[in-house]
Symmetry: C2
Subunit: 307 residues, 2 copies
């Protein structure tokens, strides 16, 4: 199922947790203990928690190599030019959500992405067994924080960041299916009047990327949230959202009848967050598997040690 392989022999991350992990300085690791306030109604870490840990690890990676200028994740040459990194795409696959008290290890590294961007990947492992819990891949581009326009990577910035690039394939196969633009006719659920809370804002008074997940879940039918768990998430960030924005969250469900979601097998949803005035903020796709589906699998499985 997991066919990702690093290309450099000196950097081996065994996705099945059986081998040893060798770091070559390009991969950064941070350990997290899952805290009580990071788990949800299921007693497992929420997707927001997972994405918070990805963000924290990425920032500490940048910090550890001195590429953290006057803002979050800005290099000195970027700061000079008022450039900041903005995420345009994020994909997360979750195999298993950790519980309160579990230790997880988050690995992250950056690679080139086409000519104008940077890819950042993450691998989340169980701290005890090494089992892969989640994988994520993201694409980042530069934006001028004054003009809010996207920018090519200036040579001086490239010089700072390129030595840090790991030559590797994405840890998640890119989901190339087009994300459709939902509207009132194609969506099954539309929830309006969503506004940022004060605590949703980052130091730039913009809504933090992770907070969008919460709004996407606002229009996800409750029977899905109750009976299923999120297994895959793809987000395309299109526009910033500030403190005075009023949003609508739209969701279309496929792969299951809207009247019988609780008993459905795998479910796929498409999402749109837009301003009430119309501009698109985020398009997304989520995939959901029935809760405990994996436990049922384990019940019928004879552990190898007992063979």
């Amino acid at each position: 199922m997991l066919d990702w392989k690093p290309r450099r022999p000196d950097m081996l991350i065994d996705p099945f947790g059986l081998g040893k992990i060798v770091l070559d300085g390009l991969v950064f690791r941070q350990n997290f203990s899952i805290r009580s306030y990071e788990i949800g109604a299921d007693r497992t870490a929420s997707i927001e928690t997972l994405m918070n840990h990805l963000q924290e690890t990425a920032l500490n990676h940048a910090k550890s190599v001195g590429l953290l200028g006057d803002g979050f994740g800005s290099s000195p040459e970027m700061s000079k030019r008022n450039l900041i990194w903005v995420v345009t795409r994020m994909q997360v696959l979750v195999d298993r959500y950790p519980m309160w008290g579990d230790d997880v290890q988050v690995y992250t590294w950056v690679s080139a992405s086409a000519k104008i961007g940077m890819r950042r990947d993450w691998l989340v492992c169980d701290g005890k067994t090494g089992e892969t819990l989640a994988r994520a891949s993201s694409v980042w581009v530069l934006m001028n924080k004054l003009t809010r326009r996207l920018s090519k990577i200036p040579e001086e910035v490239r010089g700072e960041i390129e030595p840090r690039f790991l030559n590797s394939d994405p840890v998640v196969d890119e989901d190339n299916r087009k994300l459709p633009k939902l509207d009132d006719n194609t969506a099954d659920i539309v929830r309006g009047g969503l506004t940022p809370r004060w605590s949703d804002l980052d130091i730039n008074q913009h809504v933090n990327n992770v907070k969008y997940i919460g709004w996407i879940l606002e229009s996800t039918p409750p029977p899905i949230l109750e009976s299923h768990e999120l297994s895959s998430l793809t987000l395309e960030y299109r526009r910033e959202c500030g403190r005075d924005s009023v949003l609508q969250s739209l969701t279309a469900v496929s792969g299951a009848s809207i009247g019988n979601l609780g008993n459905a097998g795998d479910i796929e949803c498409e999402h749109l967050l837009r301003l009430e005035k119309g501009a698109e903020i985020v398009r997304g796709r989520t995939e959901w598997r029935p809760k405990h589906a994996k436990d049922f699998g384990i019940v019928g499985h004879v552990p190898a040690e007992n063979d």
Copy 2:
């Protein structure tokens, strides 16, 4: 300013961070490193973060002494009787908010509170200097989780918890001023239509205590949030709030003209969270001091080392 003294000579917490800390087994300590996603627009930890750390430390304290039954914070004898702890009152005083990357140490202990309850106190210190960052005190009573009625402490439960009580004064002087019941006439700001997000729910599908702070801030005038920082918080929890509740947040400002909050000195607010149907959920009082007020003080102060 801080006149709290522990009564037991074998348990010395020096509030000014100059002395050594001696634990006698009744005080539990947990260290936290402030993470990027725990800070707000000010680059400092938010009040929610601080309260999350208090909650986590309290739960791990209970866990470490084996008083964590089938739920959060329930002892075995409590679980037998379907009793759970519910918080009725919480007071927090914050001297300084830590920044991203700062290490904080949270100390917590429990004491008797009148005949029917338990008091839990916390002291939050800077991990490097030992400086007191915050102090908090809370009162808890038992509730039957089936009937949702409050209960006296059964003898068997008392037997479990009393050996853990520390005989000490509250770390925060109780604010005995009555919290008024605000209404549409006495409130300066009323914000309605507030609903729990899926991620606000705990494992009992109730809104976690900490989440109420976010709603209280929803009706706090933005000029206060921008120019002031929360220095003191008192909450009286009156009723639970479930996943389908729709709330209103009311705030009345005193100590400053509502038209000139940004330039005001210390400000005091009174708050009410209520169901749109009318029932009270939480009454509260917050105190705010101008941001950077302390920095100005430091500018005019010659450090002792240079004397």
